[in-house]
Subunit: 115 residues, 2 copies
DNA sequence: AGAACATTTGCACAATTGCTCAAATGAGAA
DNA sequence: TTCTCATTTGAGCAATTGTGCAAATGTTCT
């Protein structure tokens, strides 16, 4: 790691205050995993597509132009992180966004980047 | 890549509709980079700390327990992606969240993960 | 039972990422 | 100018990640 810079003494109070308000490490890790799920082009494409409607693995492969396998791998990540939900219907598995927060976050980002 | 599954014919209309509504690739890449910035523990810690107040590189090194260099590398990522802003004051460089969307997104995620 | 098709999973590998270290740059004080 | 301290930058390296391939699993139909 590294040595502490000299301003540390001056900023000591401020630093202590911020440290205290910071969420605990476990929550931060969980939160990073949450965002990380949106931070890959393939997964994001999947999520944007699911904003429109429920879709199966094969549909998503079609839409993204990636192999079914690649999509399935990424769907697993999204499933594990509770960002998408799914239901089986016969041979197909249909995926959808897990809850309204997901849609909300996607919308804010779209607005932020000035769609 | 891969072959198309047989449902394609049945779902053709649906797929075309979703494809049409999807943002263009450039925007999707930009958006993925945006989210990716939040998707790393170090960068997320930086952002959560900056929710409280403006802080310099050295403060952030202190708060996160990481080397000044590591923090600086990550600040560059956040700067490049327009997620933080900065101003120089003497020897120090103070960073702050770039705009209200950033704070809003962090708040929704905190709420979503049930803080 | 078997065949057909959608999906998932494990493995392997290329590409990317985050960190440390050391050197460079910026800025104020002497 | 030189000294000192905060910050940035580039190189190198270990660790992680995303994908395709091939095999396995799940489900329906005959």
């Amino acid at each position: 790691m590294a040595e502490v810079c000299k301003v540390h003494e001056e900023h000591e109070e401020k630093i202590a205050k911020v440290k205290e308000k910071l969420p605990n490490d476990e929550l931060i890790v969980e939160m990073a995993n949450f965002f990380d799920a949106f931070g890959d082009v393939t997964r994001l494409k999947i999520l944007l597509a699911l904003m429109e409607e429920e879709l199966c693995t094969c549909d998503l492969s079609n839409i993204t132009g990636l192999s079914v396998s690649a999509i399935s791998h990424q769907l697993r990540v999204l499933k594990d992180r509770r960002i998408v939900n799914y239901r089986r219907e016969g041979k197909n598995v249909f995926y959808r966004l897990d809850d309204e927060h997901i849609r909300e976050i996607l919308k804010i980002a779209l607005k932020h980047l000035g769609e």
